[in-house]
Structures are given as structure tokens and as C-alpha cells.
Subunit: 200 residues, 2 copies
């Protein structure tokens, strides 16, 4: 893999099936990987440092923010999460298309720091279907489900800066679209013009 | 097929294998077709009006030019060729992705009249390989081959307004890239934003 990979930012409501779609694409092609985030929260049983997350303390996290070492970051309750720029760059240079599964606000931050990032919004076929999926899990209270639906509506209003929209009515079909987008993004004339000059 | 198709402009040197690549994609998906050009030249044995070309006289051709009924047109020796806008529009509205196999100058004309056209340049892996392919046909004189190579060099210099570049080192691989580009172009956020609003 000599060609530099693409940074693929994926957003969408919880319950849209983002992970399922990305994992399907990973099965289809070996040049796609998830980024690994840094977090200040403690590892849960079974989590490995460098696999699920890079586990760091608040002091180191703040240092990374100050030194512009994070492509985006956010704090939920008392825990902070961020995307380490160096990790992403190393993977891109190794030829991997690096997927960031992040929220709309984070996508906006990444987009400013990495204008070449490919921004893909994955949505369920309808909010009714999203409600069914979230309720069907049986793990979320009605209040949580309602909160997620409100959040989805808000995200839809802010999503117009994404490059692509995939409606996940069928995970196999959605994965084939994501796969095609990654392939097509590598075919841009500007990325390949050197090949033409070399063959001149 | 309810979604409007995309206009796909394909250019590249004679011998780059454009037709082979497009025909392979047509085998893979039923929503791709070639446009049918108008021409003032006479039908050759076996050619059918409306299949290979629409055969028209010089007077009608000039009328189509004057009425802006052609997306692009060009004259070679004493025969004129052009792409009829209405035919293309009907196919696009029927959901077909319509492929125009035209030269760089024609692509520029189409691009001005149809800014949404997807412009793809298909090139051989090298000019040496192009020379081998053209010579290997055994039908072209050395002068013709040399002329085609000069023309290819000139086209490369003018090709920077294309959206995508496909290097046809292997027709199967090139077809998979063209296929992916067509799929990805249908996933653009701006084309699908209405789906998100409808599901709101």
C-alpha cells in the first residue's frame, strides 16, 4: 500500500448502524481501519490500551489539546475523548483509509484541520425506524430514546456540510455504497495527476 | 429507476480502452447506457438510425447547432458529429447514467452546458504501452500511431479539468473504479438531502 489513505469521517444518530456498515466494509477490503481515540476514562474489563482506546490522564489530555495534537476532542460528563493526529497520520501514510466515528461537532473540527477529510453522514431510513431500533434494543429507557431522537433531529439540521449521505435501510447496500465512495475518492484527478505526468 | 441519472463524460486517448471499460460496467449494472450522437455522415452497412447514430443532413445539423440542441459538436474532415441534448435529458430522467465518449474539447463544451456532468479521463498506464497497443492492432500506419501519441500528449496537458482519472492497466480493475465512481456520485449529500428532510 504505497498510496496515502483517506481520512473518512462517519457521523450519524446512535442506532443508524454506523459500526455495522463500517465493519462490513472492513471485511470487504483490507485497507480500512478505525482510528483509536485517546480518553481520560478508566479502562473497562477486557479493554486494552491502544486497541479500544489510548488511556491517558487529564494532564496529558490537556497537554495534547494545548499542543494541537488532537484533530477533535469533546468532554462527556467528566471524561474527555479525542482523536490523536499523529496516530491518524501514521495510518494514512501507511496506506490505510482511517475511519473516525464521531459526532457532528467533532466532524466540523476535523474538517477545519484536515480539509481533505471525506465526510459521510449515515442515517436510518426514517426517525420512526430509528425509534423502533432504539426501543428494540430493550436497553434504553423511553426518556433516553426520546433524547436520542431529539438529538438525531438536531444533527440532521446541522449535517449539510457532509460530502455524502448514506441511508442505511439495508446494511449490505449501505456498505457497498461506503466501499464505492472510498474507491472513488482515490480516483480524483488531482490525487492522480502525477501518474499522468510520469507516463508523459 | 426513479432517481435521475448522471451524465458521465469519458475521454482519453484512442487505445486507452475506454469502450471496453464502459461495456464491462454495463454488464455489471443495468442503469448505464451510451448516448447516441447525431452525424451528417452516411450510414455504413449494418448501421441503424438511432442505434449507432442518428443520421441527419447538414441543414438539420446546422439547425440543431443554432437552436442550442447539441451539448457539444465537432467536425472531422467534412462530417459533423454532435450530442443531442434532448436524447440525453430523456435518458437521464428515465434514471440512466448516460456515458458520452468524447474528446477533451467536447468535454469542455458539455461541462459548460451541464456543470453537473461527471468528467472522467481514462489513460493507458504509459505512452509506451499506448504505442504497443496501437501498433499491435496492425491496422494503423506508423504515421497514424505517431499522430495519436502526439495527440495523447496534448490531451494530457489539457485534462486537468476532469474530476477523475482512471489508469487502465487492467480493464477489470478500471471497470470496478468506474462502477464505484458512478455509485459514489449518487451518494452526494446535496443530491440526497431531501431524503433526510422527508424522514424528519
Amino acid at each position: 500500500m504505497s498510496e496515502r489513505g483517506k481520512l473518512i469521517v462517519v457521523s450519524g444518530p446512535s442506532g443508524a448502524g454506523k459500526s455495522t456498515v463500517v465493519f462490513k466494509v472492513m471485511e470487504q477490503r483490507g485497507d480500512v481501519c478505525f482510528s483509536v481515540s485517546v480518553t481520560t476514562r478508566s479502562p473497562r474489563p477486557g479493554e486494552l490500551d491502544g486497541r479500544e482506546y489510548f488511556f491517558i490522564d487529564h494532564e496529558r489530555f490537556q497537554e495534547m489539546v494545548d499542543r494541537n495534537e488532537l484533530l477533535e476532542h469533546a468532554t462527556y460528563v467528566s471524561n474527555s475523548y479525542g482523536t490523536p493526529r499523529r496516530y491518524v497520520e501514521e495510518k494514512l501514510n501507511a496506506g490505510f483509509n482511517v475511519v473516525l466515528d464521531i459526532e457532528v461537532q467533532g466532524a466540523r473540527q476535523v474538517s477545519e484541520k484536515m480539509p481533505d477529510a471525506v465526510k459521510i453522514f449515515i442515517a436510518p431510513p426514517s426517525l420512526e425506524e430509528l425509534e423502533r431500533r432504539l426501543t428494540g434494543r430493550g436497553t434504553e429507557s423511553p426518556e433516553v430514546v426520546r433524547g436520542r431522537l431529539d438529538r438525531a433531529r438536531q444533527e440532521y439540521l446541522e449535517a449539510d456540510f457532509y460530502d455524502y449521505l448514506i441511508i442505511n435501510d439495508d446494511a449490505g447496500h449501505a456498505a457497498s455504497e461506503l466501499n464505492a465512495i472510498i474507491t472513488a475518492e482515490h480516483c480524483h484527478f488531482s490525487d492522480r495527476a502525477q501518474l499522468l505526468r510520469d507516463s508523459h
